[in-house]
Symmetry: C2
Amino acid sequence: MHVAIIAVQSIDGCITRHRGEGAVGWASEEDQQHFRRALATFDCAIFGAGTYRADRDHIRPRVQPDLLRMVMTRNPDAFAGDGVADQLEFTAQPPADVVAELSARGRQRCALLGGQQVYGQFFQEDLVDELILTLEPVIFGEGLRLCDQPVERRFELAETSHLSPSTLLLRYMRREKGEVGNPGRSSEGR
Amino acid sequence: MHVAIIAVQSIDGCITRHRGEGAVGWASEEDQQHFRRALATFDCAIFGAGTYRADRDHIRPRVQPDLLRMVMTRNPDAFAGDGVADQLEFTAQPPADVVAELSARGRQRCALLGGQQVYGQFFQEDLVDELILTLEPVIFGEGLRLCDQPVERRFELAETSHLSPSTLLLRYMRREKGEVGNPGRSSEGR
């Protein structure tokens, strides 16, 4: 199973604009279009209950067998009425088990769609193979970031392109595990 | 006066690797070389007392009249022994006044070198004209970010280049003030 995060962030690494109201929905139209095109190349998706709740009205009319959406929640029973077998399911399993199950059920490409805690768990367990990242040209200073816990995961830059003159699309692939990166040296400002 | 931040960050927007020991000195050798080349194009620099303390042993042998280093601190007297007129000075003035003074003294290009609080103050007061950002291909999950307070500052991407196959150099210019960005729309995962 190939697991890819598809995310958008500010220059300074905020995936939400500050916190609370207005925290989502700030990405450019070009990013929205890219997101829909990218998601269409996956046959399953994983995201958290918070993301599901925020996007429920958008997701429910769009459930379809070509994209098995799996929602991670501590309490799947709370969503029993929303479930559609093979299209929209709810699970309390840990990340590696969710991935294994999707794979056992014949799915091959999994989009990881947030939120921060779900990303953090997958980074922590080193389950992220690819990072498809939109970089919007704005500084927010406050907001959630892509990972909510200390890790050190090195990637290789596979592709850079422009979604618009100032919006970058970066694609990173997970570097072979165990490979040591350049440790760098300290200097003024570094 | 043209004010430019020269910074390095992880993919997820950390300018330090976690916190405490090992938080600095993680950037690639390519970034170190780029930093020295870039800094040589400026005639003055501003940074905070924390950054000065961390890099003091590196900075003191390198003070020179071509680069007036101005250290922002609440207590300039504490550093009286280190000062060298027109080369290494300490000031308790607020950001706009420091910039104005450097300008009045004939300096034209100012590098802003951190740390997070200094960046935050300059973003807050909208004094950042340019952002020269190295993006290292690593996820840290925890660390200081480029700005320590909620703002919304939109930039234009002026240049992208590679410092190495996986290390990007991005140059952003401050968008004309008052111009409204695309507000975007909400959708699954966005």
